[in-house]
Every structure is written in structure tokens, then in C-alpha cells.
């Protein structure tokens, strides 16, 4: 689809390219709980899309809908223009899910051999082993692998069918930093081959490192959507900590303030432009003291973004 482009694909052309998978105003309820609330989402050919949100935001529900494992309460799900339950659709996608245990008495080579047989045009074993970095592990039993190695096998199983679209549900959760970086490199390599990737994560850093486009969701709704750079300008602010008599709701109403939290006798304000906020505060309250301005950690800022909408 995008394979004809020689240059790295610029974001704007990815945004124009056709959707390979789509959730169209999808609502998913489990009893009284609404996991997804009239959510619209499209994954375009060749892009890496990160679905970013805290636990329980609805990320896994979105993936399970797109895989046809569950059906929506309302709305429609389309993958490659078809029902995700069609086996013809499934031959063109791959998935890495949060699996707690895989049959441990099969060897890595055997797992790959079996999953390859599910696809009419599988990727070659050598290619899978190389892409998933399983060299030297082929004859090991799954049960004897480390956590990072197990994730690599699951990654390998996701690409057995040489898919056009790959779902990665929290691929690096529970991994150490080294294994996480290694998995990032693998995802980048998939993207470089023109595969579309939908990745869920609750690490902003991960979305930033991998994705062409990020969708921030919480409580089943989209909070923000854009390139990682756009999301970062929305969520990264700076942090003002000071003791002040200013009313919290007044502070919250100031332009550029994302969040206001009491911290013992002080207050912590997260704002995109701290200078403007401070100017207002000094005008309003002459007693401002113990002033500190610092760069908000990415995770804090993300938290601010999700909490601001709550």
C-alpha cells in the first residue's frame, strides 16, 4: 500500500491514507460499566498508532473488538473493510495479547511452526526468528524462557502470518528497560516494512518513542489525538509549587492551567505557560512564598490531562 514510497513516510500522507481498521461510534458495555463510549477510531495503512491511557481506560476492549473477540453493544467494527470475525480478515492481521501463560512444554520452534500453519502465506521461519530476535532460543521450551524472551516469542507469533496490521496490547508491560528498548526496535522494524501497528500502552514515553499518532483515552472516551509532538505540547506543562492564599478554583480558571493540587500547606499548579500564571498570581496575592518552578514529569502531565477531564 505505502510500499511504493521510498522516503520515510511523512505523517501528513499517513493521515490521508486509507484506514485498514476502524471503530465507528462504538459503545461497549459490560453490565453497568461502559468500557467504550461512542468511540471513533481509525488505523491507517502503514502507521503506528498508540492508544494511550491508564488501566481500565478501554484500550484492551478496543483491541478485542478489532480482533472480533467481542462484539460491540452499538456501532460497527471493520478490519480490512470486513467483519473482524471473517477468517479471511484474520489471515491478514496478527496480535500480541496479554497472555499469562502459553503451553510451556512446547519449544519456541514448535510454537512458531504451529502458528505459521494457521496462515496461507506465512512469513519464513528465518524471518520471524530474526525480527523477533529469537536466535539461539529456537529449541528452548517456552517455560524455560525469561519474561523478556517470552514477550519476544509472543511478538514472533503475532507476525507469523506476515500481517498487514499488527495489534500489540501492552507489549512491554512488566519488562525491564533493556527488554523494553529491544521491543521498541522490533516495532520500529515492523513499521519500516509498512505494517500498520496498533499499540496500547500506559507509558507516554513509549507512545512518544514509537507512534506516528497517539490517541489518549480514558473511561472509554478520547481525550486527545495527534502526533506525539502535538500531544506533548498539550500535556507537558511546567509545575509551580508555592504557598499562596489564592483560591484553588480561581487558579484552575486561569488560562493554561491544567491541574491544581494541594500539597501540604502549598499548592502544585501544572500549567503550559507558568509565567502568565505567576503574573496573575502576583497581582492577586502579595503573599506568594516558597516559590519553585520545575518541568513536570511526562507521567505527571499525562495524569493531569486524564484527571482534568474526570
Amino acid at each position: 500500500m505505502l510500499a511504493t514510497l521510498d522516503e520515510p513516510t511523512p505523517v501528513y500522507s499517513i493521515l490521508r491514507s486509507p484506514a485498514v481498521a476502524r471503530l465507528h461510534s462504538v459503545t461497549k458495555r459490560y453490565g453497568a460499566i461502559t468500557a467504550l463510549d461512542t468511540l471513533n477510531l481509525a488505523i491507517n495503512a502503514g502507521e503506528v498508532l498508540a492508544l494511550l491511557g491508564p488501566n481500565g481506560a478501554g484500550k484492551t476492549t478496543a483491541i478485542r473488538l478489532l480482533l472480533g473477540l467481542i462484539s460491540p453493544t452499538a456501532g460497527s467494527v471493520r478490519v480490512m473493510g470486513r467483519d473482524p470475525r471473517d477468517s479471511a480478515t484474520r489471515t491478514r492481521i496478527g496480535a500480541m495479547l496479554q497472555v499469562t501463560r502459553v503451553p510451556e512444554t512446547l519449544r519456541v520452534r514448535e510454537h512458531i511452526d504451529l502458528f505459521r500453519s494457521y496462515y496461507p502465506h506465512p512469513m519464513s521461519v528465518a524471518e520471524i526468528v530474526r525480527l523477533a530476535r529469537l536466535e539461539g532460543l529456537e529449541d528452548r521450551f517456552f517455560g524455560k524462557l525469561s519474561g523478556g524472551q517470552k514477550q519476544r516469542v509472543l511478538f514472533g507469533l503475532a507476525i507469523c502470518g506476515n500481517p498487514d496490521l499488527v495489534f500489540l496490547d501492552e507489549p512491554t508491560v512488566g519488562l525491564d528497560i533493556e527488554s523494553r528498548r529491544a521491543l521498541w526496535a522490533q516495532v520500529r522494524e515492523l513499521a519500516a516494512r509498512g505494517k500498520a501497528v496498533l499499540l496500547t500502552t500506559h507509558y507516554l514515553e513509549e507512545a512518544d518513542a514509537l507512534a506516528h499518532r497517539v490517541i489518549v483515552i480514558d473511561k472509554g472516551k478520547i481525550l486527545a489525538e495527534g502526533t506525539p509532538a502535538q500531544i506533548k505540547t498539550r500535556v507537558t506543562g511546567r509545575r509551580i509549587r508555592c504557598v499562596t492564599d489564592c483560591d484553588h478554583s480561581w487558579l484552575r480558571a486561569l488560562p493554561g492551567v491544567a491541574d491544581v493540587q494541594p500539597d501540604r500547606d502549598a499548592v502544585v499548579i501544572t500549567a503550559t505557560a507558568p509565567e502568565a500564571v505567576l503574573r496573575e498570581m502576583f497581582l492577586h496575592d502579595a503573599t506568594v512564598s516558597d516559590l519553585e518552578v520545575s518541568t513536570a514529569a511526562l507521567e505527571d502531565a499525562f495524569l493531569a490531562l486524564t484527571q482534568a477531564q474526570a
Binding site: P18, A19, V20, R22, H24, A45, R64, L67, G68, L69, I70, S71, S76, R78, M80, G81, R82, S87, A88, R90, T91, R92, I93, A95, L97, Q98, V99, T100, R101, V102, P103, T105, L106, E110, D113, L114, F115, S117, Y118, Y119, P120, H121, L154, L157, G161, F167
Partner: protein, 266 residues
């Protein structure tokens, strides 16, 4: 419309008989290999019928004019098949479901039927091993004489039990939580086998047990196998076949209903 947004090349072209056949063979081979290496399964499924046969069948092969080793060869072949199927499908699927492994397979193009059929065939392979060991013991140390025809019949009838008890295993996998599955399956499997005359001749059981035995699928299964050696209770074998077919339909039907209900709720 999303439907018009991408031109999908027809991938159905690759999904021919050859593809399904190879897939099924691989699924079966790895299911069997996995089960064989899983000692908790292979040792108990093969070990228990063999051990019981040695204790009850070989140790008192002839007493009071009754050829125990001959009767119990048939009944422990059945016992082995039932165990392989109930644990293979019941506990096996319950675990794979709880661990998310089944979901990953469901997200792949693997046909559901291949998954279930592979598990059933793998259980049949275990039953064959059990029958082979039991027959070897019966002939060498049990003093049992059997014709080739009887042997073939024994194998055929034993394997015929795969479908009814695999269906029962499937239903149990859907209703039992994985952690409790092996325990509860034992609580069903062992008393049911005992009451059907699989552990010791049914004539030796208390009368009230003999009365309720015909309500159990294991009884009808055992009667078919016992018929080969002339130990069946008087009556038509057709009734036993009917009972097993009916039982299979009930198990599969209930499993299907539960499964579709779960999918609707999911």
C-alpha cells in the same frame, strides 16, 4: 463508508483443503506432544488405568470362577479413554481459556473445529497407548486369551468413546473455573466410573448402584466394550449406542448454548 476504504486482495484463495489438512495435522501433533510432555497429564492419564488394572485385574485375575483380568481389560480401556478426554479437553481448555492462550488462538485464523478436533484426536492417541499397555499386561501376566477380532473391536469401541466424553469435557471446560477444574473433574470421573462397573465388575456393586448405573453414560460405554468379551448385561447393544449418541448431543448442545450466551455477554 469503511467498507469501501480499502481494496482487499482475495485472501480466500489460499484457504483450500490442503491448508486445512496441514493445519489440522500440525495442531494435533503439537497438542499430543504438549500433553505427552505435560507429566501431570500423561503420567496420571496412562498411569491410573494401568495401576488399577494391575491391582484389581492382575492381582486377582481369577476368583470365584470370574475372569477379572478379562472383564477389567474392557472396563479399564474405557476408563482410560474417559480420563484422557475429560482431563484433556475439560481441564486443558479451562486452563488455556483462563491464561489468555485460547483468546490468542481465537484471534488467529485457526478454525475452532481444528482446535477441538485436535484435542479429541490427541486424547484418542492416549487411549490407544492405554489400550496397548493394558492388552500387553493382560496377555503376558493376566492370562487373557483374545482373538485379533476382539482386539480390533476393543480398540474401535474404546475410540468411539472419544466423542461423547470429549463433548462432556468441553462442557465442563466452559462451566468450571480453571483452578478448580482438575479437582471437580476427578469428583465426577471417579465416582461415575465406579458406579458404572469400570473399577470392578458391576455385579459386585450394591443393588441400588446397579439400578442407577443405566443413567450414566459411562455405563453404556462400558457395556459396549464388555459385550466384546461376553460380559455385557442382557439387553440390546443398540440401546447403549443410542444412549451415547443422545448424551453426546446433550453435551454438545449445552456447550454450544453456553458458548453463544458467553459470546453475547462478552
Amino acid at each position: 463508508m469503511a467498507t469501501a476504504s480499502i481494496a482487499a486482495p482475495a485472501p480466500a484463495a489460499g484457504l483450500d483443503f490442503d491448508y486445512y489438512f496441514k493445519l489440522f495435522l500440525k495442531e494435533t501433533r503439537y497438542e499430543f506432544l504438549n500433553r505427552l510432555r505435560l507429566r501431570a497429564y500423561s503420567l496420571s492419564v496412562i498411569g491410573f488405568p494401568v495401576m488399577f488394572y494391575l491391582i484389581f485385574g492382575i492381582a486377582n485375575r481369577h476368583s470365584e470362577g470370574f475372569h477379572f483380568a478379562r472383564y477389567l481389560l474392557a472396563s479399564y480401556s474405557c476408563f482410560g479413554m474417559i480420563g484422557a478426554a475429560l482431563f484433556g479437553l475439560g481441564a486443558g481448555i479451562a486452563f488455556e481459556r483462563a491464561q489468555g492462550w485460547l483468546e490468542l488462538k481465537q484471534a488467529s485464523p485457526m478454525p475452532r473445529l481444528a482446535y477441538l478436533a485436535a484435542k479429541t484426536v490427541s486424547c484418542m492417541a492416549f487411549a490407544l497407548i492405554i489400550v496397548a499397555v493394558l492388552v500387553a499386561l493382560a496377555i503376558t501376566v493376566g492370562g487373557v486369551h483374545m482373538t485379533l477380532r476382539e482386539l480390533i473391536q476393543l480398540i474401535a469401541i474404546t475410540l468411539a468413546g472419544a466423542l461423547p466424553f470429549a463433548s462432556m469435557g468441553l462442557l465442563l471446560a466452559l462451566v468450571l473455573p480453571a483452578s478448580a477444574a482438575p479437582g471437580i473433574i476427578n469428583l465426577i470421573y471417579l465416582p461415575m466410573s465406579f458406579c458404572s462397573g469400570l473399577w470392578m465388575p458391576i455385579q459386585a456393586l450394591p443393588h441400588f448402584l446397579q439400578r442407577i448405573a443405566p443413567l450414566l453414560p459411562t455405563y453404556h460405554y462400558a457395556q459396549l466394550a464388555l459385550g466384546i468379551f461376553g460380559y455385557a448385561q442382557p439387553g440390546s447393544t443398540l440401546l447403549h449406542w443410542d444412549a451415547l449418541i443422545g448424551f453426546t448431543c446433550i453435551m454438545l448442545g449445552t456447550a454450544w448454548l453456553l458458548f453463544t450466551r458467553m459470546n453475547a455477554d462478552a
